[in-house]
C-alpha cells in the first residue's frame, strides 16, 4: 500500500520533471544511478548479513532470552539483540506481539523494538560510508543508551 503511494508520487514527479525539462530529468536520473551504484556494495553486504543473523537468531531463540522474568538483564539482552538484527517493521511488530503473548515483558519488548529501529549495527558499513566512523559510532551509541530510557518508560506506563 505504502509502496504504491511511493511509486505513484515518484512516477508523477518524474513525468512532471520530464515535461518541464528533458535535459534536467536525464541529469537527475544519472545522479540517481550514480548514488545507487555508489552504495550498492555495502547494501548487498548488509542484506547478506541480515540473512545470516536472522537465520541464527530466529524468533524462538529471541523469545527465550527476553522472557517476562528476565528483568534488567532481559532489557540489556533485548537491546543488544535489537541492535544487531534488522527486521522490517511489518515483520518485527507481529513478532513482538507474538513474543508478548508468549510471556515476554513490555519493558523488554520496548527495548527490543527501539533498538531494532534506532541502532543499526548491521547497517554501519552503509552509514560509515556517508558519515565516517566516529559519527556513526557516536550516533549508534547514543541511540543504544536511549533504548533503555524508552524501555524504562514503557515498562512504567504499559507493563
Amino acid at each position: 500500500m505504502n509502496t504504491y503511494i511511493l511509486y505513484g508520487i515518484t512516477i508523477a514527479l518524474l513525468i512532471i520533471s520530464f515535461v518541464k525539462d528533458k535535459k534536467k530529468t536525464k541529469m537527475a536520473l544519472k545522479k540517481s544511478w550514480k548514488a545507487f551504484e555508489n552504495i550498492m556494495p555495502q547494501i548487498l553486504g548488509v542484506i547478506m548479513l541480515v540473512g545470516i543473523l536472522l537465520a541464527i537468531l530466529n524468533p524462538e531463540v529471541i523469545s527465550k532470552i527476553i522472557g517476562k522474568e528476565s528483568g534488567i538483564f532481559g532489557v540489556i539482552i533485548a537491546s543488544i539483540v535489537g541492535s544487531i538484527t534488522l527486521i522490517p517493521g511489518f515483520v518485527a511488530f507481529p513478532t513482538a506481539a507474538m513474543l508478548v503473548e508468549n510471556g515476554a515483558g513490555y519493558m523488554q519488548i520496548g527495548a527490543f523494538i527501539s533498538a531494532l529501529m534506532m541502532v543499526g549495527i548491521i547497517t554501519m558499513p552503509v552509514e560509515m560510508k556517508y558519515f565516517g566512523k566516529r559519527l556513526t559510532l557516536l550516533r549508534n551509541a547514543f541511540a543504544f543508551l536511549f533504548t533503555f530510557i524508552v524501555a524504562f518508560i514503557i515498562g512504567k506506563v504499559v507493563g
Binding site: 511511493l6 540517481s32 540473512g51 543499526g120
Partner: protein, 177 residues
C-alpha cells in the same frame, strides 16, 4: 578487477560466511538465503523510487530553498521539516543515508540531518499504525512520545560532541560522492 574486489570485499565476505553456514548446518543456510532473498526483494522494490526521488530533488530543489528551510538559521521550521520528511519515508534505514547526503549537499544543517535520520528510523507514519495494531495504542503512543524528544536530544548531543572540522569533513566527503 582489483577495484571490484576492494569495493565488494564486505559482500564477498558475507557470501563466504553464508557458504560456511551451509556446510555447518544446511537448514540454517537455507533459512539465511530465504531471509536474504526477502530483503533483496524489499530492496529492489523500495530503493529505485527513493533514488529517483533523490535525483529529482538534487536537480530541481535550489540550494537557497534548502538553506532557508533546513539550513543553519532554519530553527523550529527545520526541525519540523526534518521530522516530516523522515516520518513520511518508506523503506529500510539504509535508504535514509543517500537521501540525507543530498539534503546535506543542498545545505541542510547537520542537526536537522540527524533528526531526519532519527525520524526515518523510528517515527515512520505507516509503521506507527502497524505498531498500534500489533502492540496496542498505549505502547505505540508512549514510544512515539518518548522518541520525538529523544531524537532531537540525540541529534543535538551528537552535534555538540563532534568537532566542527569533522562535520565539515563529512560535508566535503559527501560532496565528492
Amino acid at each position: 578487477m582489483k577495484g571490484f574486489l576492494k569495493r565488494y570485499r564486505f559482500f564477498l565476505l558475507t557470501i563466504l560466511i553464508t557458504g560456511a553456514l551451509f556446510i555447518i548446518n544446511g537448514a540454517i543456510g537455507i533459512r539465511a538465503l530465504t531471509v536474504t532473498a526477502y530483503s533483496f526483494k524489499e530492496m529492489l522494490v523500495v530503493l529505485p523510487p527513493i533514488f529517483i526521488l533523490l535525483g529529482l530533488l538534487d536537480v530541481w530543489v535550489p540550494r537557497e530553498l534548502m538553506v532557508r528551510y533546513m539550513g543553519e538559521d532554519s530553527k523550529m521550521k527545520g526541525i519540523i521539516l526534518a521530522f516530516l520528511l523522515g516520518s513520511a519515508a518508506a523503506g529500510p534505514l539504509y535508504g535514509a543515508f543517500p537521501v540525507a547526503a543530498v539534503l546535506m549537499k543542498k545545505g541542510a544543517k547537520f542537526s536537522n540531518i540527524l533528526i531526519f535520520i532519527g525520524a526515518w528510523s523510528t517515527t515512520k507514519i505507516p509503521m506507527f499504525l502497524f505498531e498500534v495494531s500489533s502492540l496496542g495504542a498505549k505502547f505505540a503512543v508512549t514510544r512515539l512520545l518518548v522518541d520525538i524528544p529523544g531524537i532531537i536530544i540525540i541529534a543535538y548531543l551528537v552535534c555538540a560532541i563532534i568537532p566542527k572540522e569533522e562535520v565539515e569533513k563529512i560535508y566535503k566527503n559527501i560532496e565528492i560522492m
